[in-house]
Symmetry: none
Subunit: 404 residues, 2 copies
């Protein structure tokens, strides 16, 4: 594991341009014994050429055996120890639906639940109401006003919503109100430190008004709040790496994590294809040193268990790749944040195929195509994902020598 202090000491404010292309959930597994993985099955002439010329390897997102969520997986790719630096659940939920979390904000996950006439919880998930039904209740919650504090509420999915408080002097050190039991009432919001007392009182005022407006809207006639969290105050790319960094992503959550590490988030359309995303990179090419470009649908199709559809997403990325190659980056890295094998239908812990192409300094290895098995004996070996940023900086000529 790279030493973050050391990297920030050695990073220089000059050097080449870096593209980090992340295909979410890229890594896969064969669907039949001896068969190819999704990446191996895909027709990817451009990636294969880059793999043949450059260095390949396998990236370990958090540590062996750990299947990471998108938050820690991306923090690791960005060079932050995903165990030391944790993004609170509330912040992930809020950024995941596009709510900006600024320093001082308190972000919270909410669940609708069902309570009986005595206020005792009978269903912690309100009968798993639809997203549409959830949105109707959220519209009611939007009416609640707190003194001196802005409240932002947005539906997430099914019975889940996100709440954000914005105002002076807020503190998120507050315990969950979900008792994790039925037959008892929701807990009041309770400060875990004296500094959070005032915020907890505001939250309780909001809960009391929410109970009023939800009354009679069974089965979602009450709510619980969890994962109170504030901006994790992550070191910023500009300070640590001396990089002007841009994020090109379609899904809000990845934009959110990128924003938390200090990247500028480039405007995109929710329906952008990989080619559209690469065009965005080209458009802002002159304004930045580092470009994080995120492709969502490799992961989505893996989670669907649709091997062939995941192959097609990979092929659509490869077809658009000349747009990035023609920009002549000094360093082009193609990897995933974790594996999502279609046969597994979920995030997994398998190390992630990675290629690093940096024509002035890369070490060619014997990989002839880009795929899991070729990467196993590659020049990068198996490495912690957090080592990727130091490698990118080194290949871009952005790290000074350590010691004399």
């Amino acid at each position: 594991m790279a030493n973050f202090e050391l990297i920030s000491r050695l990073a220089q404010d000059k050097g080449g341009k870096i593209i980090l292309l992340v295909m979410d959930g890229l890594g896969g597994l064969p669907r039949i014994p001896d068969g190819p993985t999704e990446l191996e099955a895909a027709y990817t002439p451009h990636m294969d050429l880059l793999a043949r010329e450059g260095s390949t390897g396998l990236s370990i997102p958090v540590s062996r055996g750990i299947a990471p969520g998108s938050g820690p997986a991306h923090l690791a790719l960005f060079g932050y120890d995903p165990i030391q630096y944790e993004i609170g659940r509330g912040v992930l939920e809020a950024t995941g639906i596009g709510i900006e979390v600024n320093p001082g904000d308190v972000a919270i996950r909410g669940n609708f639940c069902t309570v009986d006439a005595n206020g005792l919880i009978t269903d912690r998930r309100a009968g798993r109401i639809s997203t549409e039904e959830g949105a109707k209740r959220v519209a009611l919650l939007k009416q609640i006003k707190l003194p001196g504090v802005e409240t932002i509420v947005e539906a997430v999915q099914d019975y889940r919503f996100a709440l954000l408080l914005r105002g002076p002097g807020l503190n998120g050190d507050i315990a969950d109100t979900d008792p994790q039991l039925t037959g008892v009432p929701p807990l009041p919001a309770k400060a875990r430190s004296p500094e959070a007392e005032a915020t907890a009182a505001l939250v309780n005022q909001w809960i009391a008004e929410a109970a009023e407006v939800l009354k009679g809207h069974e089965p979602a006639n009450m709510l619980t709040l969890r994962g109170f969290a504030m901006d994790p105050n992550l070191p910023k790319y500009r300070d640590v790496y001396k990089l002007r960094a841009a994020c090109v992503a379609v899904y809000p959550m990845y934009k959110g994590v990128a924003r938390l590490v200090g990247m500028d988030v480039i405007a995109t359309d929710p329906h952008d294809t990989p080619q559209d995303e690469f065009n965005h990179v080209a458009r802002v090419w002159n304004d930045y040193d580092f470009f994080f470009c995120h492709i969502k649908y490799t992961d989505s199709r893996g989670e669907d268990g649709d091997f062939d559809a995941k192959v097609k997403v990979i092929e659509s990325v490869d077809a658009a790749l000349p747009t990035l190659i023609n920009l002549k980056p000094d360093v082009l890295i193609i990897t995933g944040d974790h594996s999502t094998p279609a046969t597994y239908k979920a995030h997994s812990w398998h190390p992630v195929p990675t290629l690093l192409w940096a024509p002035k300094t890369h070490m060619p290895d014997r990989a002839q195509v880009f795929g899991e098995r070729e990467c196993m004996a590659g020049a990068l070996g198996q490495f912690p994902a957090t080592d990727l940023m130091p490698l990118a900086l080194a290949h871009a000529g952005r790290l000074a020598k350590y010691g004399a």
Copy 2:
């Protein structure tokens, strides 16, 4: 990363003999796509045989992406965490020109500079005077005497020199006198802790006398002092590894680092060839358990950018290798402290080809020759350089089992 405490607990004062042959800056890169690296291009029948019989792998000097200086790179090879154990700049400079740094000494880097009539710095590097001109000023500085303290001054290169103070009660916790600016006078030597007050006063007395003797010797009519440092008090090979260790090296700096870890430094001639160095190893073979043998010119030719000359140095080492092999070491390791690809003309971060030959215990892998690409899939994998000493001890039968 190996646990240093654990290794020192398990190390036993018995077992086989180990040779650690370090070709400085060994690792390279192809000069044309698909071409060989320097090591791959070199005709090395003896190393190839050892690679075929033994284990190969790639050593990571400090961490991925970090190009190390020779100090940290050698500390890592010697098994010391190069981030935890840092050798101060003054000590590296002094040992680099052959000044012995003993416990209690304070070693300092000096720069000649130019000051105007008001004592303000006009050139921090004194017009980059020649080494010869520097030596003339150093001769003047040698005349300065301090009460109760021995002073050693030697020219380094151009406008740089080294100063060492030797005497009772010295302390090196003193800030640089170089203000890093022109238009201001040099700073006085200032203690950073009360224990260093007396030493700082002595240094200021020395600086005042230096100003007198340099007066009129423009452009180098004044000096600044930097990198005050003392013996880093590294754990010693005898105590940690239970090894009687010898160093055979031609360049002073490597002798200096070896001395700091407690090796005996064998007398060599500055013009010794690899064959001469190996003859020195043979000469003292019966007196030691461990032999660090350092070849400098692989790095020098890499820094020159001279691919063919680096190949020739490697070939000259291989040609002399039978002298080491005929000693029948129990463990023979051939590696570099870092990579210095001729195409890069500098220390780089690329992992270093390594072979470990220990006929009773080595694990043969599929490597057929000694080269970067063969090492990528070797039995040793990619490993931190600090793991090499524990491996050497283990293969020499010098490490007890851990736990019951």
